[in-house]
């Protein structure tokens, strides 16, 4: 535990050093990677360890984002309080959803969470206090002055996002190695056997949903911070798609894999942009190439390495040995 904590602090220090040495765009992308890493770890926790698929993580993120913006805009208070509220409200939402979802299996859960991903932006559109289509502002403010004049806004985002990502990864990895993590794995591999040995399967599933949702909500608030607003257009079905893709690429049960998955998710629009420009830069190409790449990656990885590229290498190694 202490060793791991040292490792995470060291990692954070290295990241901050890197942040000082690259240009603004990369710093901003760093913040995005941190945001995706948080979001993906929430899926890893849910799918990889509890055997439940949620296709609606974009919706969970929306809950967190709106909670953060509403808190900051209406209650004021320090920025960190907005993030805490994002975690709290989405955990509550997750518990509620989990209570329904714990009784669902396979297709029902997948369909219900997908319905949520499609529907939640629609709902946000309909209510005035949620800002409708343009959404709500979410401004975490300028970086503190004592960090110096050189310290840019993007670097401030990067610091906050990285700190939160490391914190949530640290907590998640400890939860997964705890008694709860082991119980979730037991439920995943054989829920009946787990039930017979005295595990409250339903309660444990609700717990997984709650924690996963809390983490997703945090990611949603971080996303809102990087684009300075919350709006239905930020938490679309496409975001949920991208997250599922990232999770599959990360290997749904590998926590270190989430960084890899997050890196790819940030790289895809970049690559798509380069390709679209090279192939003539027409508007449709710009709009739909990223989605095409995401879908193709998702399909290929789910067919050929459903447990993540890491898993495949591991099993090869195993066979050789």
């Amino acid at each position: 535990m202490r060793k791991k904590l040292t490792l995470f602090i060291l990692l954070g220090w290295i990241l901050l050093l890197i942040g000082d040495r690259v240009d603004e765009l990369r710093v901003y992308q760093g913040a995005q990677i941190a945001m995706y890493a948080i979001a993906l770890s929430s899926i890893v926790l849910l799918t990889g360890y509890s055997g439940q698929v949620s296709l609606g993580n974009g919706a969970m993120m929306a809950v967190g984002g709106y909670a953060a913006a509403l808190t900051l805009n209406n209650l004021g208070g320090p920025v960190w309080f907005a993030f805490v509220m994002a975690v709290f409200v989405s955990a509550l939402f997750g518990a509620f959803l989990g209570a329904a979802a714990a009784r669902l299996s396979g297709p029902y859960l997948a369909g219900t969470t997908l319905a949520l991903a499609v529907g939640l932006p629609e709902i946000a559109n309909q209510f005035d206090f949620l800002g409708g289509v343009p959404g709500l502002l979410f401004d975490v403010g300028f970086p503190p002055e004592r960090l110096g004049e050189e310290f840019t806004q993007y670097k401030w985002f990067f610091w906050i996002a990285t700190f939160l990502a490391l914190l949530s990864l640290f907590i998640t990895s400890n939860i997964l190695q705890s008694r709860y993590g082991r119980t979730w794995r037991a439920i995943r591999s054989n829920s009946l056997a787990a039930e017979l040995s005295g595990v409250h399967v339903g309660r444990m599933k609700i717990l997984a949903f709650t924690i996963s949702s809390a983490i997703a909500g945090l990611a949603g608030a971080v996303l809102a911070m990087t684009i300075s607003l919350v709006a239905p257009g930020a938490y679309t079905l496409a975001l949920s798609f991208a997250l599922v893709t990232g999770a599959v690429l990360a290997g749904v049960s590998s926590l270190p894999g989430v960084v890899f998955g997050a890196l790819i998710l940030v790289a895809i629009p970049e690559v798509a942009d380069v390709l679209a420009t090279r192939w003539g830069g027409d508007e449709n190409l710009n709009n739909y190439l990223p989605g095409l790449i995401v879908s193709v990656l998702l399909i290929l990885s789910v067919i050929f390495t459903p447990n993540g590229p890491g898993e495949k290498l591991k099993s090869r190694h195993h066979k050789k040995g």
């Binding site: 799918t47 396979g106 499609v118 629609e122 449709n284 709009n287 050929f304 447990n307």
Partner: protein, 298 residues
């Protein structure tokens, strides 16, 4: 009283489009044990093809038939070239159970991107085969239009055709047997793999009709069928996911319920209404309203 009646009728028309989508989902679920999220994508692709025919020939019914054929072809193709490959690679591990469902999601994204690349994101419309102006009784014009009536009739005819295929033909018997008990069907000499592909084709064709009818009363875009997919799924769940009759009943109930919410409460609660129905059914009657006794579970 009049408002009540017209809400009911429009709900019936909306619900009958949901019915087609939910039948398509149920057909695939029964034969393959996958909720095929790509159904929305398949329907979208067939509808865009129908749209091309409709704009060129201005004959809606020809476009509909071509869309059905395209949907069937795409459906069969998805099963033959995609699902079979997927199941061959089906491995153990944490993702094995979720792989098929995620794959259909990927396919939905793929079709959406391809459609976007070819046709762009702007809204397209298909000229409706009947007037969208409401019927007039005396002085008052109802919101219920000849198009609504035509949709109900078309769906009714398709449902009858499906019922005949499933209840009266050898193909239907093979489809049902392969869905209920693949091994026994195989031992009885049914070519189950081929039968499954035919099932996907029928689902694809039905989805094509859903897309065309939805577009005739609405518009078409790479995202326009997402809500139809969700409502089709909810309808299928109301019916228990196994029963075709159940899914039709579920779709009509859902269509009417949502139209009542729309007319009496307001647009803002339509989706929430649908979602509440879904959660309520899942919690109160998880095997669907048609469940009698024990139901096969996945």
């Amino acid at each position: 009283m009049q408002k009540l009646l017209e809400t009911f009728l429009i709900g019936l028309s909306t619900g009958s489009i949901y019915a087609l989508m939910s039948i398509a989902l149920v057909l695939v679920w029964r034969s393959t044990r996958v909720v095929n999220f790509a159904q929305a994508g398949q329907a979208m692709l067939s509808t865009y093809i129908g749209f091309e025919i409709a704009t060129r020939t201005e004959i809606f019914w020809l476009a509909l038939i071509i869309a059905i054929a395209a949907g069937a072809l795409v459906g069969a193709g998805v099963d033959y070239f995609f699902m079979r490959v997927l199941f061959k690679h089906a491995v153990s591990g944490p993702a094995a159970v979720v792989a098929p469902v995620i794959a259909t999601l990927g396919l939905l994204g793929l079709v959406r991107s391809i459609v976007g690349l070819v046709w762009g994101g702007e809204f397209k419309s298909i000229k409706a085969p009947a007037s969208t102006d409401g019927f007039t009784i005396g002085e008052t014009t109802l919101p219920f239009s000849p198009l609504n009536l035509l949709i109900i009739v078309t769906v009714f005819i398709i449902l009858i055709a499906l019922a005949i295929i499933f209840q009266r033909t050898n193909l239907g018997l093979s489809l049902r047997a392969s869905a209920y008990a693949p091994e026994i069907a195989q031992l009885a000499g049914i070519r189950t793999a081929r039968t499954r592909t035919i099932g996907w084709a029928i689902a694809g064709g039905v989805g094509g009709v859903a897309g065309m009818l939805n577009t005739a009363s609405n518009f078409l875009s790479p995202y326009s069928l997402d809500l139809l997919l969700v409502f089709g799924f909810i309808a299928a769940v109301i019916g228990g996911l196994e029963s075709m009759v159940g899914s039709v009943v579920g779709a009509l109930i859902l269509g009417i319920a949502l139209t009542f919410i729309l007319n009496y409460v307001g647009t803002s609660l339509v989706f929430i209404g649908g979602f509440v129905v879904l959660i309520a059914v899942l919690l109160l009657k998880p095997d669907g309203i048609m469940a009698r006794g024990k139901v096969r579970r996945a």
